[in-house]
Structure formats: C-alpha cells, structure tokens
C-alpha cells in the first residue's frame, strides 16, 4: 500500500510563515499541502499586536537604516546578508499584503500610516490597530481559501522522515480527531511551526507554542542555532504573562518605577522606553531587584495618550487590561514585568529557508526547509526588534516557499515504505498503555517551565544554568514514565500534550546547552558572571546537532558581516 498523500511540498504549520510559504510554493507550480495542529486562524501569529516594519523609499526612509537598526538590535550577532534581504525586500512584501487585502491603518493622505517601535530611529512600523498579526493571518488564510490548497487540519506531526539517501521524504503525523497515523510523503518539507514559548512558564506565548518544529527537525539531524537567545518582552502582565504590545510605548507610553521616576532615563537616555527589548527588560528587572518595583512589577503609564488614541490604536490591549488586570488604561498605569516572549534561535537555514545549504551542499537535512520563528537564519541574532518578526514570516516564508518549489522540481519523489509510520504509531500505543501513576504531564510541564524561567531568564549565571541542566534529565525520566489517563482515540488532547512535552524537553536541553556554552553577555543572553560582550571569542553562532545518543553536540559559525563592524551598543 502506498500513501494517498503525496505532495511536492508539505508545510508544517499554518501561521503567517507557513501560509506565506505555501502560497509561494503554489505560485511556483508545486503541489502543496499544509499540515497544522490547530485551524490556521487559531495560529499564534494572531498574537502579534504592534505591527510590521518596512523602510519605504517613497517615505524618505532607507532600507539600509532599517538593516542597521536590526544589526544593532541583534547585538551584532545577526547575519548581515540575511538582514539586508529582510530590509530590502520588506517594502515589496508590505505592498503585497496590502494588495491581498490587509486593512493597514491609513494616514490623512490615504496612504499607509506608520508608528514608532523600539530600537529604531524612524517610524517605519505599519500596523492594523493593535492586532496586526491577526489581520495579516486572516488575510493569508483568505488567500489560502482562494487558492483552495489542501489543509491537514488538526493533525500532529511526530517525525520528519528521511529516505535511504538521507533526503527529506515527508512526515509522519496523526489526525487528532481520529487518532489515525499516516505517512505524508513530500519531496520538500517546510517547517513553519512557530516558537517554543511554553518551554518557559510564564510566557506570552499561546499554549500551542511548544517547539514541535524545532524538535522534530533536530531529531531528524538538522542543526539548531542561537538557541540560547530567548527574548523577554518588557511589558507582560503578571500571572499568565499576557502580552501588552510595544506599540503602547511606540505611541508614547512611559515606564515608571515605584518612585514615579521614568527610570529608562538612566539606562537609555536617547531612546528611553524605545530602546531595544533586551535593554528595557534588563532595566526593569534591575529596578524590581533593587526594590523600586511594585509587587514584582513596574508601571506602564498610558494615561497621557488620551482616550481617543488608546481606543483607536490600542483597542485590544485596552480590552485586555480591563478583562485580565481589571485596569482602565485611560485612568491608571498598569503593572507589567519582563516575560518570555520569543525564540531568536531555531532551525538553522540559509536565506532561502534551506536547512542549510552551502554552495549546493546541504549541511543540514536535504529537502528540509524552515521559516518564521521556528527558523534561525540568523536574522535577529541576540535580540529581535519589535515588528521584525511579522516581516520575517512574510519575507522568508515567501523565499522558502519559492525555493522549495524549485527544489521539488529538481528531485524525484522519494521512495519510502508506508510502514515508516509504524514506529511512531507503536510509540504512541506504548504511551497510552502505560500503567496509571500519580505524576502528570501537566506537573512535568510546570516544573520545566518554572525551572527555565528561573534560571534562563533576563539574568543568567553558571550556577543557575548548571542547576537547570541538572534538573532536565530528571524531567525527561519522568516524561518517559508518565501515564496518559485518556485512552481514547478521538480528539485525545492528553496525548497531544504528552507528545508536546517531549518536544519541549528537547528544546529546553538545547537552550541550556547553548547558554552554558556562550561565555559572554550579548543581546538577550546576559550573564552576571560574564557581563561583557566578547567579540574576540564570541562573535559567532553556536550550532547544536543531536548526537546519535541523543546528546547535543556544538559547532560554530562565524557571524556574516557585510557593512557594519561591531560597535559599542548604546541607546
């Protein structure tokens, strides 16, 4: 029997990067399908609030300036050739989105309006109120419906399959609704499965962000890169860690400590609240640690922006503050604190999404591509600028899609037996058959998340990271024994959560491994035992491969510098 599912290109994930990649591959003539564990419009791209950057020349902006701001924001760890592509192609992609139907905010001339965002000298962030990600996501899904591309909806991918030559041959996945496994054959697989936020607790990320894409690529032999670079967003709510958009500060909101001082004056006298995120998060944490916080938070003050502006341009967070913090943003400041938000690291790709190709030689897995937060080019280096992630998804989603279509034309359909899915099917059956016990997936997830947040947060040191590294094997042991009480085949979300936990543990291991390896402070990776950036030894990326025994193995790549030599970073 052969699988009824055979495609040129299979995209894992239906967020912005995934859908953009699928559409580009479709335009490139490939037979494309998308596989996603949630309905496309429920993807986490929804949560991107503030906007999308582009330097449009007809506004007097220069893409080189955007690129420079991004390089500086990355603390010089970003690869400048990739950043140049991001900045240069941004305008084209913004216009393509507008032509597809995105209702960007307009200015009085009837043209697209911009707002300011952190780490950038100019207002070059295009936006849809404060739900830009959602507005883009829905429009890309509209285009997907128009193109009538097949979507494996609510399917969970368990492995990337390679043929005997080591080429990517598709994925093994099961349909959550029926619990049925299938091998989905594809010449090329694009992983666009989003980030790993839930590895930390709390996190701004949705509960679905469990690093699945990174983990299955890593298990299949693809290297991960910059995994130690984890962004803490400066404005998240206490408790669940919900995000308050940077657009609030972009529109002029202040950060204030318990003494009523706009403390950013002392940390970033020029850019103030709009310094890059790593800088602002560290400043807040210092204020809190030194006793100038309020119950573990500082305050974000929007009052002076006025009711009208808040409701027009920050409507979603106005509602969010009311619903989840019981605060009227127009009347009182809101307590916020730094919270885990984004993974700069991910599956190492080249500028066409390949994992990863050096002059025709795939150093990663041939036929495997990645885009979006799952991928690491590296664009964002040590710290991502706000509103560059949405741009990343559309520019490099598109490029990965186009390249994968061309690649698929150049290779034959892989020959792999359908029995390839047996291994994962058996693994799941064994998981379901485990004898009952007191430990739960939820308990292990919580222990993992709090460990990571405690030791791999805004400030890190050897002792703490070592503690985390010592805790992880115990969590993995527990995961290897934990039972699933729901034995059913239909919509078994307990099973999904158990499998996700396995992915999260792999991600956590690489994060800790990368962080311990990097003996300097750069971007979001700030070590109190190595407080200086060390360009002499560490102006390089840490690649992590998975050894056959499952342990991580490091490799290094120099940072690609085109025009901007590293300088002291001051905001």
């Amino acid at each position: 029997m052969t699988t009824p599912y055979t495609f040129d290109v299979l995209v894992l994930g239906a967020g912005l990067a995934g859908m953009r990649a699928a559409l580009a591959a479709h335009e490139g003539g490939a037979k494309v399908a998308i596989l996603t564990k949630v309905h496309p419009v429920l993807s986490h791209s929804n949560a991107a609030q503030g906007g999308i950057n582009a330097a449009l020349t007809d506004r007097g902006d220069k893409w080189e300036d955007h690129a420079y701001d991004t390089v500086k924001g990355s603390d010089y760890l970003g690869d400048q050739d990739a950043i140049e592509i991001l900045a240069e192609e941004a305008g084209k992609d913004i216009l393509a989105l507008e032509h597809m139907g995105v209702i960007f905010n307009r200015n009085d001339e009837g043209r697209l309006g911009t707002r300011r965002f952190g780490g950038q000298k100019r207002a070059r962030t295009f936006f849809v109120s404060d739900f830009t990600g959602q507005a883009m996501l829905h429009v890309l899904y509209e285009q997907l419906m128009k193109a009538n591309l097949p979507v494996f909806e609510e399917w969970f991918a368990t492995s990337v399959v390679r043929d005997d030559d080591g080429r990517c041959a598709g994925v093994v996945a099961f349909e959550i609704r029926y619990g049925k496994f299938a091998f989905i054959k594809a010449k090329a697989v694009i992983i666009a499965a989003g980030g790993l936020g839930r590895v930390f607790e709390p996190s701004t990320n949705a509960m679905i962000c469990t690093g699945d894409g990174m983990a299955i690529a890593y298990r299949a032999g693809a290297p991960l890169m910059d995994m130690e670079m984890v962004q803490y967003h400066p404005t998240t709510l206490k408790g669940k860690g919900l995000l308050i958009t940077e657009a609030a500060r972009g529109e002029g909101a202040y950060l204030v400590n318990s003494e009523g001082e706009r403390f950013m004056e002392r940390y970033a006298p020029n850019m103030m609240e709009l310094a890059s995120r790593d800088v602002v998060s560290r400043a807040e944490q210092i204020e809190i640690n030194e006793g100038r916080g309020i119950n573990g938070c500082v305050l974000l003050d929007c009052r002076h922006l006025g009711k009208r502006l808040i409701q027009d341009r920050l409507g979603q967070i106005f509602e969010e503050a009311k619903s989840f913090a019981n605060i009227d943003l127009t009347e009182e400041p809101i307590p916020i604190r730094p919270g885990m938000h984004y993974s700069m690291g991910g599956i190492k790709t080249d500028v066409d999404g390949r994992s990863w190709d050096i002059q025709g030689n795939w150093e990663g897995v041939q036929g495997l591509f990645a885009a979006g937060e799952t991928a690491c080019l590296s664009l964002h280096g040590g710290n991502r600028l706000g509103a560059n992630s949405l741009l990343d998804t559309v520019v490099f989603g598109r490029r990965a899609g186009s390249c994968s279509a061309a690649y698929a034309q150049s290779v034959h359909t892989p020959r792999v037996s359908d029995s390839i899915s047996d291994q994962d099917r058996t693994m799941v059956q064994d998981l379901l058959r485990r004898p009952p016990q007191a430990d739960t997936v939820a308990a292990i997830r919580l222990d993992l998340g709090t460990t990571m947040n405690h030791h791999l947060g805004v400030f890190r040191d050897q002792e703490g990271m070592q503690a985390a590294q010592n805790i992880l094997p115990g969590l993995r042991d527990r995961w290897g024994r934990v039972a699933i009480h729901d034995k059913g085949q239909v919509f078994n979300t307990s099973l999904v959560r158990a499998l996700e936990l396995g992915m999260m543990l792999d991600c956590a291991e690489t994060i800790v491994f990368g962080a311990i390896t990097r003996k300097e402070s750069r971007g979001a990776h700030f070590r109190t035992d190595f407080i200086q950036r060390d360009d002499e030894n560490w102006l390089k990326h840490i690649l992590i491969y998975r050894n056959p025994d499952g342990r991580p193995r490091p490799d290094y790549l120099p940072v690609r510098i085109t025009q901007w030599e590293p300088q002291v970073r001051v905001y």
Partner: protein
C-alpha cells in the same frame, strides 16, 4: 448520549472559566477535552456555551457569572456537531465562510504602491476585521437553529468586510448573492450575535448595513427587502405597525395563494383572542401628521 458531569473546585476571584477547566483537566480529569490556546481572547479557540450563552472561556470571569449556587454550566457550542466534550466540528462554519468568497476581489490594474483610500473609508473596517472566527455568534444564532442553511452572522459579517472595502470591486455581485434565500434577509434580528460576540464585531448591525446597501444598489426585491420597505411605508401612512397589511404586501397582494395560506393561522389567532381589537386592518393614528413630518425630515437630511 450527552450528559453533564459535575466537578467541584476551589477558585480564585481572578479565575476565568478557562482557568477552572484547565485546573479540572490537570488535577481531576485529564480527559476533559476542549480547544484553548492564547488565554487572552485573541485566538478564538475556546468558544463554548457558559450558563446557556456562547462566550470565550478565557474571557469569562467566574465571578461575573450570576448563579446563586455557584454552579457554572459549560456546554459545547450550539448549531454545530459535537466531537467530544467541549470540542465542536467547525467544518460547516467554515463552509459558510467560504461561500461568501472571502477574499479581496479588486478590479483594474494593481497599483505600483498601495491602494489609495481615505482613513475614514478604511479604518472603521478594523472593527469587523477584529472577528476571530470563534463561532460564538453562530452558536447562539436563533435563525440558524431553525434553518441550518442560513449563512449565519459570521459569514455575513465577513462578507460585509469586503462589501464595505473601497478596494473591493465585487460588492455588486456579493450583494446579489447575499440577496438569495439563506442570505442576508434570513436574519431575524434577535441580537444574540451582538450580545455574545467577545470582540464587538456587531454582526447583526453589519447584516443590516448589507441590507441597506443591497436596497441602495437596487438588488431584485425579495420578501426580505419588501418587508423592510413596506414596514417603513406603513409607519409613514398609519403611524403604527399594521401587521396583516405588512404580511400581505410583503408577499405581494397578487400572491393570493400565499396570502390564503395564512388563513388557518389567522383563525387560530382569532379563536385565542390574539387578533388586534381594531380589526384586521388599521387606520392611521391621531397625529399622524407629526410622524409624516419626521419621515420628510429624514428624507431631506439624507
């Protein structure tokens, strides 16, 4: 057969229904099944009925629920098949969204830069773009409950988003399609979709605007559009709602067969004393001039 199961748990004042459900799932019954993801009323996964009305579990505080015995009843959304516990099959929901061809259909060449459009003509659309497709409006739609073919509030609001977009060139054909049976005239204006929407999309208001735009563009008259026109005309003529005349003129005075089919119902109403005392056909109320002046004023001012 579906059944209810009761769980007892301690709660905090800040807890949402989702917090409570997750706590049940994590510490009492792992098999409790629901969709949930963002926890912040952004993704639209956790639509369900809470104490009889559709809502997002993550946005509903337990303390906001009026119940004397502190019992909160959660059910899967209505008007769609149930898969398991609180998870429904949204396939039919999306089929209806797809029916309205929900993508921008511009006419003419694509401009080199963005489409030019005034902020007034565009920025208001963010209200309807705020729809997160959670299904709450469809769950509680009274018209859908009796007519599964009705397009429903979510699809109609989605269609409005294109009809009202100055860049879209297909609004005439869109309105013609919505003018057909199961389209915009099938809404019974019960307002439930407005009540339950967690994002303030106001689907019913959008449907009413679609109707007005349809009439404005001269779509072929239907029972629905005649109902609206005759309603206004009767008020202007008589100052009150003349229900029998409204029905007759809506279906067309020439449509004897259809009008006669109302006879049994009319007789039953008569027997039960539900016909107005003034008889089947009303006269104009005293002071009708003042009402007609209002109509003239409205006409002149628009």
């Amino acid at each position: 057969m579906p059944y209810f199961q009761e769980f007892t748990l301690e709660t905090e004042p800040s807890d949402t229904v989702l917090d409570a459900l997750i706590r049940i799932r994590e510490s009492v019954d792992e098999s409790l099944t629901l969709r949930c993801s963002c926890r912040g009323a952004i993704c639209g996964s956790c639509g369900m009925r809470i104490n009889g009305h559709a809502a997002l579990a993550c946005k509903t505080k337990l303390v906001s629920l009026e119940s004397s015995d502190a019992l909160v009843q959660v059910e899967p959304m209505n008007n769609m098949p149930v898969i398991k516990d609180l998870v429904t099959d949204m396939g039919g929901f999306w089929d209806k969204i797809r029916h309205v061809q929900p993508w921008l259909q511009p006419t003419g060449p694509t401009p080199d830069a963005e489409y030019l459009a005034s902020p007034e003509s565009m920025n208001h659309l963010t209200g309807v773009m705020g729809c997160i497709m959670c299904g709450a409006c469809v769950s509680d739609c009274a018209a859908l409950e009796v007519d599964h073919q009705f397009l429903g509030p979510a699809a109609l609001a989605k269609s409005y988003r294109f009809v009202a977009d100055p860049r879209d060139g297909a609004s005439a054909s869109r309105l013609l399609d919505l003018n057909k049976p199961n389209g915009m005239w099938d809404c019974t204006r019960c307002m439930e979709c407005i009540e339950v929407c967690p994002k303030g999309v106001g689907a019913m208001d959008r449907i009413m605007t679609l109707r007005a735009k349809g009439i404005g563009q001269g779509v072929p008259s239907t029972c629905g559009s005649r109902h609206a026109e005759v309603f206004a005309d009767l008020i202007e003529q008589k100052g009150r709602l003349d229900e029998p005349m409204l029905a007759m003129r809506t279906f067309g005075l020439g449509n004897i067969g259809h009008i006669l089919s109302f006879l049994p119902m009319t007789l039953r109403a008569l027997v039960r004393g539900k016909l107005p005392k003034s008889g089947p056909l009303h006269r104009a109320i005293p002071g009708i001039d003042r009402i007609r002046r209002l109509f003239r004023y409205m006409r002149n001012s628009t």
